[in-house]
Symmetry: D2
Subunit: 346 residues, 4 copies
Amino acid sequence: MLVVMRHGATQDDIHRVVTIIEDMGYQARPMPGKERTTIGLVGNDGRVDGTRFSALPGVLEIIHITKPYKQVSREWKRASTVIDLGEGIRIGGKEVVVMAGPCSVENEQQILSAAHAVRSAGAAVLRAGAFKPRSSPYSFQGLGEPGLKLLAKVRAETGLLIITEAIDPATLDQVAEVADIVQIGARNMQNYALLRRAGQCRRPVLVKRGLSATIQEWLLSAEYILAEGNPNVILCERGVRGFDTATRNLFDLSAIPLVHGLSHLPIVADPSHGTGRRDMVTPMARAAVAAGADGLLIEVHPSPDHALSDGAQSLFPKQFATLMDEARAIAATIGRGMAKCAGVPS
Amino acid sequence: MLVVMRHGATQDDIHRVVTIIEDMGYQARPMPGKERTTIGLVGNDGRVDGTRFSALPGVLEIIHITKPYKQVSREWKRASTVIDLGEGIRIGGKEVVVMAGPCSVENEQQILSAAHAVRSAGAAVLRAGAFKPRSSPYSFQGLGEPGLKLLAKVRAETGLLIITEAIDPATLDQVAEVADIVQIGARNMQNYALLRRAGQCRRPVLVKRGLSATIQEWLLSAEYILAEGNPNVILCERGVRGFDTATRNLFDLSAIPLVHGLSHLPIVADPSHGTGRRDMVTPMARAAVAAGADGLLIEVHPSPDHALSDGAQSLFPKQFATLMDEARAIAATIGRGMAKCAGVPS
Amino acid sequence: MLVVMRHGATQDDIHRVVTIIEDMGYQARPMPGKERTTIGLVGNDGRVDGTRFSALPGVLEIIHITKPYKQVSREWKRASTVIDLGEGIRIGGKEVVVMAGPCSVENEQQILSAAHAVRSAGAAVLRAGAFKPRSSPYSFQGLGEPGLKLLAKVRAETGLLIITEAIDPATLDQVAEVADIVQIGARNMQNYALLRRAGQCRRPVLVKRGLSATIQEWLLSAEYILAEGNPNVILCERGVRGFDTATRNLFDLSAIPLVHGLSHLPIVADPSHGTGRRDMVTPMARAAVAAGADGLLIEVHPSPDHALSDGAQSLFPKQFATLMDEARAIAATIGRGMAKCAGVPS
Amino acid sequence: MLVVMRHGATQDDIHRVVTIIEDMGYQARPMPGKERTTIGLVGNDGRVDGTRFSALPGVLEIIHITKPYKQVSREWKRASTVIDLGEGIRIGGKEVVVMAGPCSVENEQQILSAAHAVRSAGAAVLRAGAFKPRSSPYSFQGLGEPGLKLLAKVRAETGLLIITEAIDPATLDQVAEVADIVQIGARNMQNYALLRRAGQCRRPVLVKRGLSATIQEWLLSAEYILAEGNPNVILCERGVRGFDTATRNLFDLSAIPLVHGLSHLPIVADPSHGTGRRDMVTPMARAAVAAGADGLLIEVHPSPDHALSDGAQSLFPKQFATLMDEARAIAATIGRGMAKCAGVPS
């Protein structure tokens, strides 16, 4: 950490900062510059709260050098984390893992039909929500527990892995019994009680980026899970809040290479929520693979025009099959393959 | 709701939309325009999910006319809600209610000292966190239950009302036993399990605006609480995420008159989090009162340079006393007074 | 400037940075930390381009300590700049200067009527555009030169000072002949050819903040004008681009105390563009005065429902008179008065 | 256009709106709904200023249905515009056009060396600035006219087409004499005097997206150029302002498919400015091609560590050659090729 003094700060001002740093048990290194003195704090283990300094007399600003996250950082662990999801599917390595399915489980026929469609097109994981967080208290909130049971049935019948969302610490364990991957949604990215519970479960956890989360805040939320002892975290870019209402969100695809540089964790992209428009899902899914995403999260519905939620951004099964072909071809150009559900002919 | 058809949409496209609207039990009113046909959906009770239409052939866009919130709307209830907080303090009426105190309860001496300071300057409510949501798992997370006990003690000793934050459905009831106002923080604005539990408690609830929440999303979060049967909701503007790192947040003061127009609920302003800088708290607190805020939430610490959190944005007690004098004078220019803690000489 | 090396940077990496700094004629001060080495560049006169370092091997990030602006900074000139606008009106001192009038000059009767209305309510300066920058090529673009002539006539007849916008280097001098203050609009905040021309004219220049300009970029645009020899610059906050379409812009009122801390230049607020809604102009104008603004820019139209532009955010003359009364009362609470047009009875 | 009346608007309020619409020469169609009446304005040719209505008594909001742009719209012209850039290079069709080179022309050796490097890697157009808009008046502003002369020389020597920026109406014609494509920079996207002049020149014009421009505002800026008679406009996404300082800008790649849907004009992507970081340029360039971009704008410098500007985001020539290979492979997967400079062996 670096304390930058104002032009004109007095020796007393500088001395006060040095004393506080030393009182905290760190070393202070004043460095007089042409216009200002800066004081380095050496020995910061990431726990120093810079706000203790920022309003002291003569202080201009506080600059953090050490990143506040640790275990998720590639500086901490050089090699990429490869997570075994089960059934031979691994994420974070050479293969791109596609997770597809409807926004929510609506009924047995719908979810089975969706599962067969995405499986035959080549998806390895079925996505579908049983618990749905909705902006309005009057919107469809998901089937809840019965939805989880349908997912378990589909898993047994198709061999697809399951990813589904947990929205409450009280029901997370129920979700984790059925899910191969527990999803934490964007609105809950800073719901720390939920993150802690996810850190205590034995399943891989996918953490969606919050609507206006910086990359650092997002990595810190992942850090909560690792700090509880669960190393299997997948990040998911799903669009941030932008200023243009032409799309539902602003899909920040550059998060893919950026996170790959900062962290060893796998990162996937969700172009369905990222754009909110069916006609943009396929080009942006292709782009995500080209940018190096370790997986895709895609909304597919057997009959999008009758979906209870997110119909406008759900692909028709046939569109999804085309997307899979294009994604496979692009993955090959950068030396990657697509993860396959066991028993699906290649 | 209005379905806007593309220039060149066919009669079949239009007919399909009309049929779906009628199947849903509403009336459809096609309106041919010079360039495009638009189809009105009449009878919308706020529950129609527009995404069912937006990707149909020939559809250009969906326009929502009815607001998705109801009970919080001034169209629904004309008169401003005035909430009785206890001890003769009411918010939402003529008097501005100032809630002040440290970011977190640190120990008995600190919280008592802060309470006496803000009380003697004229605050009516003591603010201080026992449970603290922090971006990093390694930061100070608050004293928890012992902190709540200290707050109860201070309440008994000073007569100040208490506002403190709940961060988990599992501990909300504990918080509500001590607090006169239960605070829902910005990061939890869309934590629906928490909002529901807050809607079931008997205390007034203050809902901070999420970091990138639109006014509509914020009102919908309040709607969750009213929908559970708790009509006593206070809104709090505390800054949104901006693009300029010169301040911690972008303090959106225009939310005050905007919310007053849309909703009957009281709204207060938190310039401490809104700006993140001590030198800006006083001018922005004055501005909030001038804009019509029903209250202020201000961080004050007996010794800001030694605060365990948010030191840089906490006022010294003396600065707070000056702020109270200025706020009182400005309130008077628009015909308002300041709520007073019982037993404090005027 | 500070070059932060990665954890694990080699001695060669560090040496390379040191050598480049010394080759540029500055001193390098390596400072080994617990986790990383940082290298200070001493002697930076504000012209070092940090991008030369940020992609070198072993470099993690570049941190700027010296601000890139100079002449506009309060570190450079401690005392607030007070600008003499003519006719005894001065801005930047004790008195708040209100500039009011219609969005654009439409015809003689309209502009005269507006001028008399704002003058009798107590405004000191008439605002009205002759050249209008419009998003669409098909919108009304202002009367141009004939509009300037009408403004000159109104100035002679009423004694009001004139502020009007220049949108092109080729016509700026024409504008400066009539205007007491030349306005640079938000869209042109980084039109450097226009800023340079404004720096060469003899009139005070008001620079509106760009739609997504940081405070630093805004001050740099003012610096362009001072660098050409014109010290009389007024800054104007008029709202930035936000994510919520409930208001036209996000009015960033905290820019007032922030700029007052960083710069000696006067700063005014424009709540008409800042909110885009008539019902919010008065509360936000009050708030601006309470926050310490040195002036206000307010749209007033004799008949807003028939305005050729910006009708929805223009006040009726009677509303403006009320606003002036409230603003005056609030100014008094912080020890300020209102500048008055010569010859207007107090 | 649609005028939405408040719940509770009176018959007089509704009548007033109807009368004004009819006075303007359009038809009014009131449509009573369950909660509110809406009034359609039929016959809108895109010139109706909705602000005339939005503050009338009883009016809740104004909804625009007709888009304000015309000539750039795909509704207006169905077929994609293919622009002949000269030397057999066409943009907007099957071939992806890569424009590469240094941020600015520094000297003859540097620009020639850069040109040979990008040509041999397969670029068709050389990018380099002679006039540079810079945030600070003290930064390097480009070589100006001598820079243009060097570009003309390089063009003659290498056969590469030239794209370079115009920043002032007064010097645009000079630029257009040398350039095969005249670039309008992001900061000048709403510099209407400059756009008009660009519309009068005979060269194709590339319009970069403004830092916080909506897609609609961007298309309106292109409309200014078409409205002056120049149909050859290329759009360029180069990142918008985001809230996360981890990258220089937020690269909005979804603009590619979005613009392709709304407009017939070609659109290219600039991942160098879009990310500001060398290590992210290649993955995001691949992603842009996968998303369907009609071209790329890439910064390449013979010696990035010694660049006078934008060094950190400039590729080394060898990195650029690799990028070209990857981009070519990805283009092939979606049925596209790469435009080639005449005389370069394939």
